[in-house]
Assembly symmetry: C2
Homo-oligomer: 186 residues x 2
């Protein structure tokens, strides 16, 4: 039985890696049992028996997602906020975080398990940025600033299939630091 | 032949409306020939003969999209920026603009026709906000401010399946106006 368990665990690991690969390469449009079976080198029958729904395949892919990328903090707020945005942008380039976010948004609306994974991944992803912003703002300003800084990376990706330059990221950080710190003093 | 043309035009209108309905109700996951045929009340054969690929069905849905919602301008910059964001948020509620954006992002990456439609819809959608922001900023600051304000609506929708409150929208507008106007003077 131990050997059987090991075999199942290996299948799961193999298929999960392939699922993440399919999700980030072909988008979730490509996430079908047939395509994943081919990519992972397992039979469709095996896939259907363990993960009958397409949402199961997405869940599997999300399980294989590496930890969210973070910047190494320097103690300078502007540098650290920009660094976090560079790390986020890097995640879009390196493992298609934009595709991952869209897959989670699509399935999280109806599949409870994916909604929970989304909450965990998003919370972890924005945790550093949130702590940094809490140094200068709070409440509605904090919520706004957090969405705004994420938006600098997310919006060009979603709306233009493009990513912000370093200069645009720096501009965003400066706008938030000037706008939000001032609001705190007033 | 005129009667035949009219029949085809009517079919197209009917199916396009149904396609938009499917896209915004069920997401593009639901955009299959079988499901759309059932919703539109036409045969799958008819759908396949006119629109063989799923991307064709998405294109059709986007064609049926109403004009982007805009706020009636008052001349007060903060009020007008917040009004545009309320209109954008209303578009997410009323016709699932977030789903539409994600569908365009998914297919725009590979289907040239959808990429063009996306550029047109996004440009039109952000045109008013862009003009408003041009009153106080330009260059990288303008690009950042535009993404940031869109992000206030897009990020909660994408990351939490949620929408910003009026207070968070106001906070975002104030941060941008304080941050961006100051940068212009410096």
């Amino acid at each position: 039985m131990a050997r059987e368990d090991a075999r199942i665990a290996r299948t799961r690991t193999d298929v999960a890696r392939a699922a993440l690969d399919v999700l980030t390469t072909d988008g979730w449009e490509g996430m079908t049992h047939a395509h994943l079976a081919q990519t992972a080198g397992y039979s469709k029958t095996t896939l259907y028996s363990h993960w009958p729904a397409r949402a199961d395949l997405v869940t599997l892919a999300l399980d294989a997602l590496p930890d969210m990328p973070h910047h190494r903090l320097t103690g300078d707020l502007a540098t650290d906020l920009a660094g976090e945005l560079h790390a986020f942008r890097g995640g879009v380039v390196d493992f298609s975080l934009d595709q991952v976010l869209m897959a989670m948004a699509q399935w999280g609306a109806t599949v409870q398990e994916i909604a929970q994974i989304r909450t965990r991944i998003v919370s972890e992803g924005e945790s550093v940025m949130r702590s940094l912003l809490e140094q200068v703002t709070q409440g509605d300003d904090l919520a706004a600033a957090l969405s705004m800084l994420s938006g600098v990376v997310v919006c060009p990706a979603l709306m233009y299939g493009d990513l912000p330059t370093d200069e645009v990221i720096d501009a965003a950080v400066q706008i938030v630091l000037r706008g939000a710190s001032r609001s705190r003093r007033s």
